[in-house]
Amino acid sequence: MANSPAVLITGLTKHFGKVHALDGLDLTVRTGEVHGFLGPNGAGKTTTLRILLGLLRADAGHTELLGGHPWRDAVELHRRLAYVPGDVVLWPTLSGGEAIDLLGRLRGGLDRQRKAALLDRFGLDPAKKGRAYSKGNRQKVALIAALASEVDLLLLDEPTSGLDPLMEATFREVIAEERTRGRTVLLSSHSLAEVEALCDQVTIIRDGRTVETGTLAGLRHLTRTTISADLDHVPHLLNELAGVHALTVSGSHVSFQIDGEHLQTALRLLTDAGVRQLTCRPATLEELFLRHYQAVA
């Protein structure tokens, strides 16, 4: 059991009427890892998390959560996980502190000391009523309720989308601690810096399908390298070479991006053309994501 993944999804599909929210999604989150879950707006991240929580029912595909079935075993599983929704809505007449305690108790228990410590670190006033909190503070209420629970798995849907930079830093510290305590985290996010700082593994989805999954280092290998060079003469074969993108030529200067597997051929072509000056730059994380986010032309 110890080595079975915390989340194992294969071929998951979900329709809402005519909308194909998920269309054969795959996702594996191993126990103990912090897994980044990325994708453009409407890609299906929230839908996936809701299916994992048994709030939505999958149309097809295999879904396993902590060794159980998300729909059938919902209640037993929910004792072992905590969820922070993307849109935190609190009860207007309950104070933040009451909501934290209540959600913790419904889940099966709450570490009071941890709650106090987290309230302090996130600088949240727990005596305010739900309706009086700002968006970021509502988010903190849900985060503290989740983090102060004794659970194995945290499902976080854009947990920092309303937090200020200071609180984002606090959030990263706390998640790093959670990892050392052995908790598994599935973190949906639009913040690349956050994903880079926290995640062991990432999965990128688009239009309800997984387009990339692996470690960040591994993903970088798959990416394009940007090359710019000053040449003796510009080889006319360059624009016909496989794997070349965004080629610009001005005089004797060329710059282009090249897919990893064609790098060697391209370099050979350039050396044959007489290189006067050359810079090679691996893709930034930004470029990596942008490439995956943009629909294939």
């Binding site: 929580l53 709030l55 037993e76 207007p92 104070s95 305690d101 005596a127 009523k129």
Partner: protein
């Protein structure tokens, strides 16, 4: 006012089904009542005899008001349908206004609109425009419908204007209520409580022939327009002036608060929860207890007032020699008192049905506000969560009926010197009505499970049952139709032996509805609006 027109168009689009249904039902009720009366009482003599009976039955007057001219079809229609149609027009106006003002602010949509080129007052102005127009259409349809049946045009117009005018006044009430509170739910509760109070004042005033009391209520004004009985046109102006004053007051209040905030600032709460706030039932109780308390207070007031009045009715009627003879034939003063108390319990039961629907649909409210997600993502099953709010709906409706019955029995008993006996008798009679209110919770639950986007149909069912209770006899509807209403299956008379069969039947149907609703909910996706 920039953008008001766009917002009106938006509101009309969102209400393109609901609003026409309201309008047609209200106008249709009035015209159908008129044709039924013309058909059933074709001769003036028959109509006058009916008028005398009504005069001798305070229970009827409490429900519908006084008869000003029993000799004409129009006069009887005005007696029968004015209160019903005006109260529905008021309800429609309240719902329209809250839906397009407070509910919009709460969801943040108003903010989105507010940031576009929309004047600050555009949102309330649009809501008022929609409600006022809807009421004007009702006025027009009633006028045309009644005049079309050959009734005098002036009376028809006065009737329509009385109904539409009540709608205008409650448009103003709802708008003012929306400025005082932070939540659409509290705003409509406040406005509906005002409507309930207006009904109560008019009912007491009419039953006890206390004119001043009846004049204190807009529903009393609607009667006193005296359609088809020497129209008093100035009362229409009273509606208009009151509505304008309320809208102006709301505008003044609005200037003193920020978008999304109420006038009363929120107080800080506890930094941590009491040990008792530990399960879904505790949460449901916490969320609903304030509302339940309000309902209980309302039922206590209504019960006490009606109970205190019941005994005087015999005296009122017996003062009149004609009436006294009639009264003896109808079974004497005690029978009159019992009929009045029974009628009162039936009305309370319908209102308690409203509570049951509201408390059950809290499930839907929590779901569409996404709060259900937070709870159901913890170790709480869908069944347990549903049952938590249902416990409030079922227990709460039994509680408020008990409060109504007890207070009526006590008040009546104190006047005749047998408080304990009357309290027990009325409590028993009130509890016998409870299964019908539970059936409404069952209907609401089934809709929540199967058709969560159409839960408003539970309210439609309640209105339909209320209309059956009010109009079924007049229209001589088939038993099969009458039996559709759960309220036809609970005891309608005090003091007769109770037949347990229909009550058990209701309980079984309710249990089946609840179970089916829960199972359907367990199988479906959670859905936002």
């Amino acid at each position: 006012m920039n953008g008001t027109l766009t917002l009106v168009r938006l509101a009309l689009r969102r209400d393109r089904v609901l609003l026409p249904v309201w309008i047609v039902v209200i106008a249709g009720l009035v015209t159908v009542s008129a044709s039924a009366i013309a058909e059933l009482y074709p001769h003036a003599g028959q109509r006058i005899a009916l008028g005398v009976t009504i005069g001798a039955t305070p229970a009827l007057q409490a429900l519908t008001g006084p008869v000003f001219d029993a000799a004409s079809v129009g006069g009887l229609t005005a007696w029968r349908a004015t209160t019903m149609a005006s109260a529905l027009a008021a309800l429609m106006s309240i719902l329209v206004v809250t839906r397009h003002t407070r509910a919009e602010e709460e969801t943040g949509r108003a903010e989105l609109l507010g940031s576009c080129v929309v004047g600050r007052q555009a949102v309330p102005a649009a809501a008022v425009a929609v409600a006022v127009t809807a009421n004007a259409v009702i006025t027009l349809l009633i006028t045309v419908g009644l005049a079309g049946q050959g009734l005098p045009a002036a009376g028809a117009l006065a009737f329509g204007a009385a109904v539409g005018g009540t709608g205008w006044v409650f448009t103003g009430v709802a708008l003012a209520a929306a400025q005082l509170t932070t939540h659409a739910r509290t705003a409509s509760a406040l406005a509906c409580a005002t409507l309930g109070l207006a009904f109560l004042l008019r009912a007491l005033g009419d039953a006890a022939k206390a004119e001043a009391l009846a004049w204190s209520s807009p529903l009393g004004w609607a009667q006193r327009v005296r359609a088809f009985a020497g129209e008093r046109w100035w009362v229409i102006a009273l509606f208009a002036v009151t509505a304008l004053a309320l809208v102006a007051a709301a505008a003044l209040l609005a200037r003193r608060r920020d978008l999304g905030a109420g006038l009363l600032p929120p107080r800080p709460g506890r930094p941590d929860a009491r040990a008792s706030l530990a399960g879904p039932v505790a949460l449901a109780w916490r969320l609903q207890r304030g509302g339940l308390l309000g309902w209980a207070v309302g039922f206590a007031i209504a019960g006490t007032l009606f109970g205190a009045l019941a005994h005087s009715l015999g005296d009122l009627v017996a003062d009149n020699p004609h009436m006294a003879a009639l009264l003896a034939r109808m079974g004497g003063t005690d029978a009159l008192t019992d009929a009045f108390l029974t009628a009162e319990l039936s009305v309370l039961a319908l209102v308690a049905g409203g509570y049951a629907v509201q408390a059950t649909l809290r499930l839907r409210g929590e779901e569409s506000a996404l709060r259900a997600e937070s709870v159901l993502a913890t170790a709480v099953t869908r069944r347990r969560w549903s049952l938590s709010h249902l416990a409030l709906a079922l227990g709460g409706s039994a509680l408020i009926m008990s409060v109504g019955g007890l207070s009526a029995g006590l008040a009546h008993g104190l006047r005749i010197g047998r408080p304990a006996g009357q309290a027990a008798r009325m409590l028993g009679a009130a509890l016998l009505q409870v299964p019908a209110t539970w059936t409404l919770a069952g209907i609401a639950m089934l809709l929540f499970g199967l058709l969560p986007r159409l839960t408003a149909l539970a309210w439609a069912a309640l209105v339909a049952f209320a209309l059956l209770a009010q109009l079924g006899e007049l229209l001589q509807l088939d038993d099969a139709v009458m039996n559709l209403s759960p309220f036809s299956h609970v005891p309608q008379t005090l003091g007769r032996p109770v037949d347990a069969g229909p009550l058990l039947g209701l309980l079984l149907v309710t249990a089946a509805l609840l179970a089916a609703g829960i199972v359907a909910f367990q199988r479906r996706d959670l859905q936002q609006e």
